[in-house]
Symmetry: C2
Subunit: 209 residues, 2 copies
Amino acid sequence: MPDDDRKRRILDAALELADERGLTGVTMRALAQKLGVTAMALYPHIGDKDGLLDGLVDRMLAEMLPAVTVDGTPEERLMAVGQAARELARRHPSAYALLLARPAVTPDAVRLVDAIYGALLELGVPESEVPRVERLITTFALGYASSEANGRFSAGTINPRGRRAQFPAEEVPAHRRLSEVLDRIPDWDAEYEADLQDLLLMLRARWPA
Amino acid sequence: MPDDDRKRRILDAALELADERGLTGVTMRALAQKLGVTAMALYPHIGDKDGLLDGLVDRMLAEMLPAVTVDGTPEERLMAVGQAARELARRHPSAYALLLARPAVTPDAVRLVDAIYGALLELGVPESEVPRVERLITTFALGYASSEANGRFSAGTINPRGRRAQFPAEEVPAHRRLSEVLDRIPDWDAEYEADLQDLLLMLRARWPA
DNA sequence: TTGTATAGATCTACACTGTAGAGGTGCCCG
DNA sequence: CGGGCACCTCTACAGTGTAGATCTATACAA
């Protein structure tokens, strides 16, 4: 009965819908049908379609929040947040792209950012640089999963040989030199972890404890 | 008369439209009207709407390509590509988001990636790591501009004081400690450049020449 | 019990989207 | 003159978000 419950129910259904049929499948009518209700019945609860998508962003961030309450070294905590982001992306690949496209201003979002700020401060990043570095890291984490989900990575590497073959070898010398490596299909989990490790290494190199 | 010309004309108009009215303003009918033609007249040239958007991706990459032919140290070349990406994002903020969402397999895209591969190899990145590092860097560059264009960054910082005020100070200790820094409005150009520099520094730290 | 206020859902309608399918229209070559 | 051909237009349809009016059921007052 309380309106927040109803809203949460709607967002849950919307997220499920996004997981099943992609973001374009999240239509007011489809969502309403899933809830046994008319499309127009949703409006009082979510505002409009934009409000619905903003709500999805918040829902996902809330889902990620438990990963923040981990303890350990700052490095471990940053890695935990990074991994949580990736798992979220894996669970909701379509909806995840919204995180890059919409600002998040919900209390849970602030708490999440605060945890990252805290870890960076502990690592010795100077105060004036902390917000920038936080944006650097989260931009990468969000962009990575988004690229993966949308096929920016894989579509290019599905058939690298064919793609290279279009070129006279001299025009793309680096591709030629890397041909053996490029034919391997990457392990995205391992790659993401290696990237996070490299970013951490960058922090330590830049601001040694 | 040649079809490629017509296609280029269409893509130019589409990009212009995106710049003026945003991506949602790029509708078949609006685009057609801009060209003094019916919506259906576009289809033989661009396939369908998805084809149009893919075409936009290619057009933008082509626009970026001149930055690749710069010479200098590998660091300088990488920075040049990074800056070119940012300028592109500045010129076409709405359309730029497409780069993260769609794979690019056009010849120009391969040439661009090849230039980055080459710079990384020269920097001493081992062959087996080059593709991963390329993805790391481009993911960041694309994600940054995308975040900026969509307001992921700014919307959160427009009124940081107000946002922090919702919380008991103990719940977001890092925000509290950083309050002075957070009130400053960032210089995004400088921030992006600092980020690129940090990434370069990471490469040098990881694989010293 | 009845009357009424109120919060919610529904119904209808509108402007807009991408695009299938059928029908022109004008030009070039025989 | 008559095809053939490449291009464009017209009409139509299913689907989108949502404004506005209407209905309904529940809660409370007399």
